[in-house]
Every structure is written in C-alpha cells, then in structure tokens.
Symmetry: D2
Subunit: 133 residues, 4 copies
C-alpha cells in the first residue's frame, strides 16, 4: 500500500496528511481483504453450519471496511460528518466481527488472524475519529 | 430489482420481510448507480472546476449506498447495531449529497435527478431505522 | 433505477444513449443484489454444506456485477477495451452462477429467482458487447 | 495485508497457496486504493479539465481491482474461468490506466506513483493468469 505517498501528493493536503486517517485507510483495505478471506475459509470448514454468524459478520465487515477505506482516501473538498459516521459504522462492524472471530480463534487459525485484523482496525477507527473533526 | 422476492424466500425470514428495509435496499442500489452517474456527468461538464465538491459527495454517497445496500440484503444471523450504524452513515451521505446536488439542479438535469434520488434514499433510511431494532 | 434519465443528461451523450448498455446497467445492479441475497439465503439453509459452491459463485457474481455496472455507468472520455473485458467477465460469471443456481432451483426458490436474474444479465451482456465497440 | 497467512489457513488450500495469485491480491487491493486516491487528487488539480480521461480510467481501474481482488481471495469450491476473465479485465484496466497516468507523471507526482502501481498490478495479473488454470 502506498497510502501516505498518495495522500501527501494531493494538491489540497500540503503537509496536513492526517496520520491516523492514513493508518485507518491501510487497516481498512487490509481488513476488507482479511474478512473476505475469513468468510470464505469459514464456508469451507466442516462445521460451516456453526460458522454462519461469523460468515455474516465477516461479509458485512468487508463491505463497510472497503467503502470507508475508499471514502477516507478522498481529500478533495470536504465531507467530514459523512466520513465520521462511516468510520463509526466501520468501528462497530470491526468490534462485532472481531469478537465473533475471537470466539473461534482456538479452532480456526483464519479466525484468529481475522480477529486481530478487526481489532487493529477498530482501534485505528477511534484514533481517526479523534483526528477527523 | 427483485428484492422482495429474494428476501421473502430466505429460510429465516418467514413472513417478517421488514418492508421498510426492503424499500431501503431498492433505493440504496438505485442511489449508488445514480450517484456514480452524476459524478461522471459532473466530470464532463465545462464547469467541472465548480463541481468538485459535488463529485466528491457523489462518490462517497455511491460507496456507502452500495455497501449498506449489500449489508441490508443479509438476513442470516443478526448484525443489528452494525446495520443501524451503516444506515445512519448512509442517511447522512444522502442528505449531504442531495443538498449539494440540489444547489446545481437548475443548471444540471443530472444533479436534479440525483438530488431526488438522494432525498428518497435518506427518507427511507429513517423509515428503516425505525423498523430495524 | 433511473439509469436512462441519468445517462441521457450526460453532457457527452447527446442522444447516443446506447440502449443495450443501459439495460445492462439495470440488470447488473439488480443481479448484484440478487446474488448477494442468494448467497445469504443459501448460508441459512439446513443443507448449507451442499451449497458451498453456489455461495462461492454468488459472491463472485455479485462482485463483478457491481463493479461492471459502475464502470458501464461512466460516459466521460472513453475506456472501451476495459469495459468490454469487464462485461465479458461479468457474462461468464452470470452464466456459471445461473447454471449452478438452476441446479438448486427446484429445492430453493431463492436459487430459482437468482438463476433467472443471472440468465437475464448474461443475455444483456451479449447485447451490450455487440453495441459497445 | 495478511493475504498469505489467510490463504494458507484455508481448509482447502493445504500448501497449494498459489503464490502469484497471492501477490495479485496484494497488488489489486493496493492498486484499488491508489487509483481511488489518484482520481481524487486529479480532481483537485487546477488543470482538472485536462485530467478527465485520467479520472475516468482511475475510477474504472479501482472498481475492477477491488472486485477482482475479492474474487481472487476465495478458495472454496472453484470458479477458474470467471476468475481468469476478471483478471484479464483487471490487467487491461491497469495497462490503460497506467499508460494514461504515465503521461501525466512529470507534472503530477500522484500520477507517477499511480502509474507504477498500475504497471506492477498488470504484471502480476499476467503471472497469476499463468498460474490459475
């Protein structure tokens, strides 16, 4: 990912890179991929019937992470309230999905990795919310 | 769109179709397409430099509408808090984008149509939020 | 969906609306929603373990339909070769997913509806490919 | 990104990680972000009117990269022909967008970085196509 390089060359940014938002973008794209992978790995497990809720939360989390990551990548004009609301939804999705994946972490390594990714993304959502006002 | 048919055949739904949520799904997918089109039509206008904020809001609105429409399409398990937060972000995006498009509605027919689409979607977001608890 | 209204007000279109491409956009957004719903309904079925391949094809089909529907919505500048390649991928996804869903159509009404949606979208992909050159 | 970790823990993969496909997933998500950023940075430039084609290609490239990155992340069941067609569309999008961005690289640093990202992704598309059969 080359998020910092891209943001720092935006004509309106001029040094105000918003470092927590940059970290958020990186984690959001990464978490979107991880949750997409985890949903798919859960689907392949013998005990898929017990992983339905996990797959549901993974797919929702992937959707909101991808959308919010793209929104946070934009610096032209301003859309602060919308971006804040999206990051809040993303944080909630990451917390719920992280908790669910954590509960399967001992049985499924993909859930363990995904739980960590979701928790990192939820944390950086909070940091970004303090920065983006 | 065949949203109602699909939702009503989901094994967990059994008559509890959540009609406002179904309307939301239809408007969200439609608004995602309309905002994608409006961003592109604004980009082609001679006065594109004055439509930068409109394009930004259109792209953000398209992203959150598409993500939330997909999330609202899922009925397996439960993810109410996340869905509510996403719909709130979607409502905010539609209000902001609708207001911006409305301000260009007399000059640009695509902005007029898009403003209407955003306002419809914002309204049905509110109705869905009262239903999804 | 207000695809025709939006496309016909684009400053570069001027009557050259490309009717098959408009039909494609409508079917692509609709099929993205239907496949998202079908994946989720399959996940909730008792026999989910036998529907893994169907869920996989549904999710892939939803992704490519959503992306190609957005790409086909753009009329600023030109990107014909890319659009054609994306529509070809979309057609292939719709054919494969439609066939898989058809094989479950007697047991699952959501698969029957989804099979029809995929077949309509695959057909209009072909019609759009003849128009977009 | 934790693509390799996630793919290698998928129950069906068992060592057959498909290394070029893993590289493709990483580059596709990264290129989706870079193209989203480049479209937005171009929109903010004084000479936006001369960057319309670049913005168009950036947005299309972001859409197909994101969709194909998600599709390539799935290993449950099989969908080879669809994945190949999507990677071919992605490669074409990256080549076209990379060439357009390259032509603005001396004037705009974001276009220079984006051109490199697109070229890397186009190359790894070819490598993945030789692996995925």
């Amino acid at each position: 990912m080359h998020v910092r390089e891209m943001i720092s060359t935006h004509p309106h940014v001029q040094g105000n890179t918003a470092d927590q938002l940059i970290r958020f973008i990186e984690e959001a794209y990464s978490c979107a991929q991880t949750c997409t992978s985890c949903a798919d790995a859960c689907l392949a497990e013998d005990m898929v019937a017990e992983l339905r809720q996990c797959i549901r939360l993974n797919l929702d989390c992937a959707d909101i992470c991808a959308a919010t990551g793209a929104m946070a990548s934009r610096r032209t004009g301003s859309n602060v309230e919308v971006l804040r609301a999206a990051i809040q939804a993303c944080a909630e999705a990451c917390r719920r999905c992280g908790d669910e994946c954590q509960s399967h972490a001992e049985k499924h390594e993909h859930c363990r990795i995904c739980a960590e990714s979701c928790k990192r993304c939820a944390e950086v959502c909070q940091a970004a919310l303090e920065e983006v006002r």
